[in-house]
């Protein structure tokens, strides 16, 4: 195995040397090939080999022999998904360039493909989350009478599927497709609400600390220092243990506690940023002028500081949302986050995760947990792409 890999690497080295030599001979020593370092030539060969291998794997995935096809099934799906998403993002960018106001048209013109993919994905998630009850064929908690549990995804009766349930049913007979769609509403909605709350808390206190300074700033900042010294997932788990004892006694759902706990933990990071940005703004002349005019604290924070701090806070909102979303997913995956019977992606991955082990024989059975986990990953990747592009644009970084 290792010998094969080494042999391939050495062989590619020889190929790269041959490629450069052939290029030099064929183009009469053109500068492109004459000055090409060996590393670059190797890179070209490596890229070509990877592309060839992907093509070969795709054909294997389409082969008639089910054993071979099963083995490359997921690679095939990944390649198809990648191409479809790339085309969709490309079409979306063309659409954005020709439709809309002058401002959006200009924005789409300079947009990389990754960012347009991100915006498209976020839009799809938003539509799914808002119209979940209309789109989902069944209810999220509905145990359909007369339907077996653990129907395989795929809808093929020969492989244990059912055409009525394209993604199958879970361990107690609920429709997985409906639960995935409702998951967009629950998981994304709760994460969004938590992030908003964290920004409200952190932003308010951060701006207050920056404007007022003095002992308030000192007390808040030291408090935040202590809270940030504990790793956030660990602290959240500790507080969730305590909340899980309190929740039934007070009659408040555990999910409410989770939102509050994560919002408080994450607001410390927002506080740091809001305070730093606010302090840079507070020393400006126009703030001095507003103070001399006799404006109150509310006017200073909302009319002078907030509009000037929007850009960094907006980028931070995207990143913070990703963190909150991943924390909630991790907590749910560990079994202490969003509680059943609410449909939630993290819980679904935990409940269905064992099916991954059947991928060799029934690749369809393994898709359900991967779809739920992939739904989380896709959204965070999309948000990250958009934030990356926004930061790149606003920082003016060129190299």
């Amino acid at each position: 195995m290792i010998i094969w890999i080494l042999a391939t690497l050495v062989g590619m080295g020889a190929l790269a040397w041959g490629f450069r030599f052939a290029g030099q001979a064929a183009t009469g020593n053109a500068p492109k090939f004459r000055d090409m370092p060996f590393g670059v030539a190797y890179g070209y060969v490596l890229g070509a080999v990877v592309l060839l291998w992907l093509g070969w794997a795709y054909l294997q995935g389409r082969s008639a022999d089910p054993l071979v096809a099963n083995k490359f099934f997921f690679l095939r799906i990944a390649i198809e998904g990648f191409i479809i998403f790339a085309i969709a993002a490309w079409l979306f960018r063309i659409l954005g360039r020709s439709v809309g106001t002058a401002w959006t048209k200009k924005m789409f013109r300079s947009m990389p493909l990754t960012a347009s993919f991100g915006i498209l994905t976020i839009l799809i998630y938003a539509i799914l989350a808002i119209f979940a009850p209309a789109i989902a064929p069944y209810g999220q908690e509905q145990i359909i009478p007369g339907v077996a549990a653990n129907i395989t995804p795929g809808g093929d009766p020969a492989l244990g599927g059912s055409p009525d349930f394209p993604l199958g049913t879970d361990q107690i007979g609920r429709d997985i497709l409906s639960r995935l769609i409702y998951g967009a509403q629950n998981t994304v909605g709760i994460a969004f609400a938590t992030t908003l709350l964290a920004f409200l808390l952190g932003g308010t206190f951060g701006f207050l600390a920056a404007t007022l300074g003095g002992w308030l700033d000192q007390v808040l900042s030291r408090l935040v220092d202590v809270l940030m010294a504990i790793p956030s997932l660990i602290f959240a788990l500790l507080l969730m243990t305590i909340a899980s004892v309190w929740a039934p006694e007070l009659g408040i759902p555990l999910t409410v506690f989770m939102v509050l706990i994560i919002a408080v933990i994450d607001s410390t990071r927002v506080y740091r940023l809001a305070r730093a940005v606010g302090q840079n703004i507070v020393v400006m002349d126009y703030i001095e002028a507003a103070k001399l005019r006799g404006e109150g604290l509310g006017y200073l924070v909302f009319k002078e500081i907030l509009p000037n701090a929007t850009a960094p806070l907006l980028a931070e909102f995207g990143l913070r949302f990703c963190f909150v979303f991943l924390t909630i997913a991790a907590l749910s995956f560990l079994g202490v986050g969003i509680q059943p019977p609410l449909a939630d992606w993290g819980t679904m991955v935990r409940d269905l995760g064992g099916f991954v082990n059947y991928a060799q024989f029934a690749p369809m059975a393994a898709t359900a947990p991967l779809l739920a986990a992939g739904a989380i990953a896709l959204l965070t990747v999309a948000v990250n792409f958009v934030v990356d592009w926004m930061l790149h644009k606003s920082s003016g970084l060129k190299e």
Binding site: K71, I230, P231, I234, L238, M240, W246, L370, A377
Partner: protein, 330 residues
């Protein structure tokens, strides 16, 4: 040199102080629980006499401040208390052999987690630095963009997604590594390494992006400086310019980021250990959270926080040591 020592001592004292305050926070949080240990152990049919006697034995009738110092003193002596789930009557009467203490439960698992973190660091650090150097060398090419997209995707995916993908491709479809990391004492090193390979690879994917991007950014930042231009004009190859001239000066931010990511590793193990059923401290923590085994939760929390603070402190001190401007503050 004395100056540096004072700064480091200051930071160390600050770290100890932070740890103390964190222990107060953890203790207070745990004491917010309704009811107390005694009632929970004895359950519903407890007689008031029995509750009172266990309270007296555990010192629960003392005021919170006394209890805090008792707990802290115990922690400093290595006595983390008695685990709730493993507790039996003997452990409260002092006739216990010691197997049910929290310390006895945590010690072997702590070693396992450290092993996993070290394997991950041994893979992730060289991998991400080499990737970062290559991305800086071939910046703004297809290679750079592909690496960028790949690392950004891997850092923004949840750990369990990466873990299941790795299980799918490396354990189920191509049985190279085992998907369950059942590690036990007295296992041969090579076997242990093989069994902890998948969790280590998952964690590598999680931490690589940050380190690789920092390496790339730190090197590219330096490429505009005059001495790099000089090296280029001398006719050195681009690889040599970066490795010999840019990298040594870019080391400070890179080391800092590596230490921070190792701190992240210590807490990132929780989810990964649960997926692979790796017998580490993270799994013990999650199990204890589920059954509300408070003494274990408290102890694990303290250990995670201590590791986190220690590594952050190391990052801080290393960045002071590697930067002459911070070494001699005005």
């Amino acid at each position: 040199m004395g100056n540096v020592l004072t700064i480091i001592l200051q930071r160390l004292l600050l770290g100890v102080l932070t740890l103390l305050i964190v222990s107060v926070v953890i203790f207070t949080a745990v004491n917010l629980l309704p009811g107390d240990f005694a009632q929970n152990i004895l359950g519903q049919g407890a007689t008031p006499d029995a509750v009172a006697s266990i309270r007296r034995d555990l010192g629960l009738d003392q005021p919170p401040i006394t209890r805090y110092f008792d707990w802290l003193g115990g922690v400093l002596r290595g006595d983390l208390g008695t685990s709730f789930a493993q507790a039996n009557f003997a452990s409260f009467t002092g006739t216990d052999s010691g197997a049910t203490t929290v310390a006895a439960q945590i010690a072997p698992r702590f070693a396992n987690t450290m092993f996993l973190a070290m394997v991950t660091a041994a893979i992730a650090v060289p991998f991400s630095i080499i990737l970062g150097i290559l991305a800086a060398l071939y910046r703004n090419t297809v290679f750079d963009r592909a690496t960028n997209i790949f690392t950004l995707s891997s850092i923004s995916s949840p750990e369990f997604f990466l873990a299941y993908i790795l299980i799918l491709f490396l354990a189920v479809l191509n049985p190279i590594f085992p998907s369950l990391s059942n590690i036990f004492e007295g296992m041969a090193f090579s076997e242990r390494l093989e069994k902890s390979m998948l969790p280590a690879l998952t964690l590598t994917l999680v931490v690589t992006a940050h380190m690789m991007r920092m390496t790339r950014a730190a090197i590219i930042n330096l490429l505009a400086s005059p001495y790099i231009e000089m090296a280029r004009l001398k006719g050195l190859s681009p690889m040599r310019v970066i490795v010999k001239h840019a990298l040594p000066n870019a080391l400070a931010p890179i080391i800092n980021v590596i230490a921070l990511n190792l701190a992240y590793l210590i807490t990132g193990v929780v989810v990964v250990e649960v997926v692979f059923v790796y017998p580490g401290i993270g799994q013990l923590f999650v199990d204890s959270v589920k059954i509300r085994d408070i003494p274990v939760v408290q102890a694990c929390c303290l250990i995670f926080a201590a590791a986190y603070i220690l590594l952050n402190l190391t990052a801080d001190i290393l960045s002071i040591l590697s930067n002459p401007r911070l070494r001699h503050p005005k």
